[in-house]
Subunit: 224 residues, 2 copies
DNA sequence: TTTAGTTACTGACCATTAGTCATTTATTAC
DNA sequence: GTAATAAATGACTAATGGTCAGTAACTAAA
């Protein structure tokens, strides 16, 4: 049954090719300004064909986003399986996410679509589920690292690791979003460098969830 | 010149009436699903007339949002001018914002539009400026309270009050957004009550920006 | 090679809807 | 009463997400 397999492979390949085109257009114009006709032209396919592979424009957008999420997952996974200390891993999670924000700004913006009402209203259940699984993978890495940190007595035991995860993540996310949208404004008007503010808040939160032992280790690591 | 004045008043009134209708429709359907025809019908006016008062659908959306922002401003301003201790005021800011989130969820969602790419792309410069001024008023209250807190030695002096403000605000915002979108999911899947998480993270951050004196006072206040 | 059947693709077409503008209606001024 | 001004209208346009009847390409059996 080599033919059937080849066809499946080709279909998969076409799907990816469409995503290549979609990525280009979405990166350039964003979700609302991008048109399906443009994407079709970029993909060298007719518009109708796009709909054979993706249910809607929003679904396609998320298809692209998933690539970005996968990249983030791989970065995180690399941390998870590395052989540095747990504290170091936790710090790395933050650093890597911040680098991700710098290097993959467009993906960062796309990920934010997951938190918009449009996502909950206009996306097919199927795609929602797919996104959910991918997001889950990322959270699993975070959770497992924080759980270890807790087991090792680095993190204050009265909190749930996942809870700490969502706190740290949300905190970074909110400031990054602000940097992305109003960074210049805050610099000009209040002379505040939100990049620095992000470091400050991350450090504040991080220190406040560490045990005494965790803090000692952290101080040693930060001094290096 | 009584007539001219009356006309200005009537025009202003019409603008508000249109916002009444728009608010109803936007609250019900959200920005993208609401149509101008619907709003026109709700306002008992023709669609063309709407455009005599607002430049675009997005501008109108922000007109509605501004009402919500004003309400928040008034709540904040009330705190600012109240005669409780500064520490109490700071805590009140958080509490009031959280209540605002509970009571005016739709407005909360609208405020988030300010952080979306759509806002930066599809809104008239004029409306952007108006929003900016309103937002500014809110920040001014926060800033002035935090500045006082710093002057009184409650807040660690190595930070900028506005910086602390944006940290606290962003932190709350991010978790509220998550509660709004995925609150149920987190409860069901991880058995995490994000409402509680919000309290935790706010407390953590808050404590970590207080001086020793501030913390003593805080402990006293929290025990009451 | 021919033919029937299947799959992939096409692009004209449809429906929706934000925004416009020539025209009509109402109000004011003289 | 009439001219001038302001307010309101709604048919129309343009843009665009999505559809579907028809076409082309490929596969498999005769």
């Amino acid at each position: 049954m080599g033919i059937t397999e080849r066809k499946v492979r080709e279909k998969e390949h076409r799907k990816e090719e469409i995503l290549d085109a979609a990525k280009k257009v979405f990166f350039e114009k964003g979700l609302s300004a991008a048109t399906m006709d443009e994407i079709a032209e970029a993909a060298e396919l007719s518009k109708g064909t796009l709909y054979l592979y993706y249910k809607s424009k929003e679904d396609m957008y998320l298809g692209v986003m998933m690539r970005g999420m996968e990249e983030l997952y791989e970065d995180f996974e690399r941390i998870g399986t590395s052989s540095v200390s747990t504290l170091h891993k936790i710090m790395e999670l933050g650093d890597v996410y911040r680098k991700y924000f710098d290097k993959h700004r467009k993906f960062f913006r796309m990920i934010h679509f997951l938190q918009s009402p449009q996502f909950h209203k206009q996306v097919s259940d199927e795609m929602k589920k797919t996104c959910d699984m991918e997001t889950q993978r990322v959270w699993n890495v975070i959770n497992s690292i924080l759980q270890t940190g807790m087991d090792e007595g680095l993190l204050r035991p009265n909190y749930n690791p996942m809870e700490l995860g969502v706190i740290l993540w949300s905190n970074m996310n909110a400031l990054m979003l602000r940097i992305d949208n109003e960074g210049d404004k805050w610099k000009k008007r209040f002379n505040i460098d939100l990049e620095h503010t992000l470091s400050v808040s991350t450090t504040l939160l991080f220190e406040s969830i560490l045990t005494t032992r965790g803090r000692t280790e952290y101080a040693a690591l930060a001094n290096k």
